[in-house]
Amino acid sequence: MRIAVCRPQVPFAHGGAEIFTDTLVAELRARGHEAEIVSVPFKWYPGARVLTQAFTWRLLDLTESDGKPIDLVVATKFPSYAVRHPEKRVWLVHQFRQAYELDRTDLGQFGESPEDRAIRRQVQELDRVALGEARRLFATSGNVAGRLERSTGLVAEVLPHPAQALDYHDEGHGDFILSVNRLDRAKRVDLLIEAAALEPSLQVVVVGEGPDGDRLRGLVADRGVDDRVRFAGRVDADELARLYATCFASFYAPVDEDFGLGPYESFLSGKPVVTATDAGGPLDVVHDGSTGRVVAPEAAEVASAAVWLRDHPAEAVAFGRAGKAIAVEVTWDRAIGRLLA
């Protein structure tokens, strides 16, 4: 089958959605399909630019390429799903969140002028049309599917995508808790640092870099926990697998995350996850007292949950095993099978 995987591209930015679509194309090719990324640059400001940029997708003709039909398109995130195709599948990573739950928050984009309010509504209208015409509609998590249903009334099947390929293994119940995430305020790594400040026996390793890195390093110095919170920066695949294998649990508690691969990677290493009640996507698989600990997004709660897992190795191992049983079910074979069915 010839398949076009559609994704918007923010020039000079590369993140989870890009990794996801690149991997999807590779996995489709590995199964004998002819697959290709179709990408259009995306700039969402100022004013109505978000709409004209979205409209660009609407003008694309992806029914065939060089005289040969394209059998199916898979669109992923706003505004790539505005593309037209008789066999349009959407595997929704997220909508344009500024037009929805982020509106009128610090992360929002639209002001109170009639024009801004109308642009926001028009984005919603475009979503209703473009997502509504998809032959099949999938969402990467229950959180994304829930937002979609609340905002448009459209129902998506939840289809999580598999974690990156790593040499996942388990070297036993270690003595530190691991955070693997981009250092960004929304990822709330500071909760874990504050937890370490409250609990003098807690050891932490933080993997990742990002715009919040300097502030977080400053926070560590300020709280005097340099000796127990180690920033590992970006690490290679082998080192990442080793860190997962040797921790006692991982911490993954962003604010209202779309999906969140972290818990799957942790589970595949047999390690439970500490998350927060408002984390969004991770709550699909992190269940309190079953695959990890789900606590209020407060440092004391995080500290208490982390120490409990560290001090109850039998339970932590059992939670990790239960998580692994969930994570191993999420495979590319199954995901692609459902996507193309």
């Binding site: 004013g47 109505a48 630019r49 709409l51 004209t52 979205a54 409209f55 609407r58 003008l59 505005a82 037209r84 002028s113 009639p114 024009e115 801004d116 309010r117 109308a118 642009i119 926001r120 509504r121 028009q122 919603q124 209208e125 475009l126 049309v129 473009a130």
Partner: protein
């Protein structure tokens, strides 16, 4: 707004607090000449009553805006604000705009009292919605039916379909009426509520189902001889319970007492029935006429009776079914309640209103901005206005609601 007594006044009173929780609203009272300073959008609630809505049309004439069209047929309203104000020419013009010169001639005949008033006999044939639609920059309607009629009438502006909100059910005891089951019809007792057909159908059902009762609540319209009909059908001494106009609490109590709400209508003016919405809020099964908005009620909530030569027979079958099958009544009632929660939730309706307000207030400027940028880009690469490529761009823009 209350204390005016109309369904639309009740509707506005119900909706306004929910809207105010979401955006800034200034209500304009009778006699105001201009919208208050600083408002981004003028919104006009228009129904078919010249006394309640004539002044609102006057305001719409001064400042165009978004019209909440509660009825599609506005003949009564228009006759009231033209003939009723001594302006026969305006009435004739409205008729001619609707249906050409023959309609104008009919208007002359009405004015000379040679034929009965059209607003009493044939309003649905001459909706006279032209002026209001011509002044409206956008429409909020409550049904697909009115949406389609407005489009068929030539309205090209944006239309938002916003369901009628469900009423909060007061905590009151049900009235003690009796009847197993109790059928009830609420509203004016007259021919357009299909009361003659309902009475005839009930009279046919009752001999075999003597525990069944029919409750009629509402004022009897002038000229409608209810007593004589009841006498002729043998319903004058048993089976029928009659209450005239009742106040709000008593209305709710009677509605609670009913097992099945019968809400028939023909002709329809395109209205949404507030009493049918109350029935949904109460989780009551409905029997309705298969016309207008009523046709859009799901089959698991309402038995729809076509208005045709078999109307009475179909009504008999509906009454029989709901008399003998309490399980069907229960299932339909549950579906009605679920529908009220799903489609008519007040907060959700208010959200849809605010979405429409925001699009109506700023949508024009946004559409212009998008069109300007797209047309400039098209012109830059040599796509001429009117060319096939330009037409395709316009079509694609239209698909996603960006004009074109």
């Amino acid at each position: 707004m209350p204390p005016e007594r109309s369904g639309i006044a009740d509707y506005s009173a119900l909706l306004l607090p929910a809207l105010r929780a979401r955006c800034e609203i200034v209500t304009v009272k009778r006699g105001a000449r201009r919208p208050p300073r600083g408002t981004d959008l003028s919104v006009y609630h228009i129904g078919n009553d010249p006394v309640a809505h004539g002044w609102i049309v006057d305001a719409l004439r001064r400042t165009a805006g978004l019209v909440v069209l509660h009825d599609f047929v506005l003949h009564h309203l228009v006759s009231g604000i033209t003939l009723g104000r001594g302006n026969g020419k305006a009435y004739l013009d409205a008729l001619e705009r609707d249906a050409g010169l023959p309609a104008r001639l009919l208007g002359y005949a009405v004015m000379e009292k040679r034929i009965p008033p059209l607003w009493e006999n044939r309003p649905e044939d001459f909706p006279l919605a032209g002026e209001v639609l011509g002044l409206a920059t956008g429409l909020i309607v409550h049904s697909r039916y009115v949406h389609d009629r407005a489009r068929a009438y030539g309205f090209t502006g944006p239309i938002w379909i916003v369901p009628h909100p469900a009423f909060p059910v007061p905590e009151l005891p049900a009235a003690e009426v009796g009847g197993e089951p109790l059928f009830a019809s609420f509203g004016n007792v007259n021919a357009s509520k299909r009361i003659p057909q309902l009475l005839e159908a009930f009279a046919r059902v009752r001999p075999e189902r003597d525990a069944a009762r029919l409750l009629l609540v509402g004022a009897t319209s002038p000229g409608f001889d209810l007593d004589r009909r009841l006498q002729r059908l043998g319903l004058d001494d048993a089976g029928l319970v009659r209450e005239g106009y009742v106040h709000e609490n008593r209305l709710w109590q009677l509605m609670m007492a009913a097992d099945v709400h019968v809400n028939l209508r023909s002709p329809t003016m395109g209205e949404t029935s507030g009493t049918a919405i109350r029935a949904l809020s109460l989780g009551k099964p409905l029997i309705v006429s298969d016309v207008g908005w009523f046709s859009e009620l799901p089959a698991d909530v309402a038995l729809r009776v076509p208005v045709d030569e078999h109307e009475v027979e179909t009504l008999v079958a509906a009454l029989e079914l709901l008399t003998t099958r309490p399980d069907v009544r229960t299932a339909m009632g549950a579906a009605a309640r679920e529908l009220a929660l799903r489609e008519h939730d007040l907060g959700q309706v208010a959200e849809l209103y605010v979405a429409a307000f925001e699009q109506a207030a700023g949508g024009g400027a946004v559409g212009d901005a998008v069109l300007r940028e797209v047309s400039e880009a098209a012109a830059d690469v040599g796509i001429a206005p009117g060319s096939a490529a330009a037409s395709e761009i316009a079509e694609r823009l239209g698909e996603v609601g960006l004009g074109g």
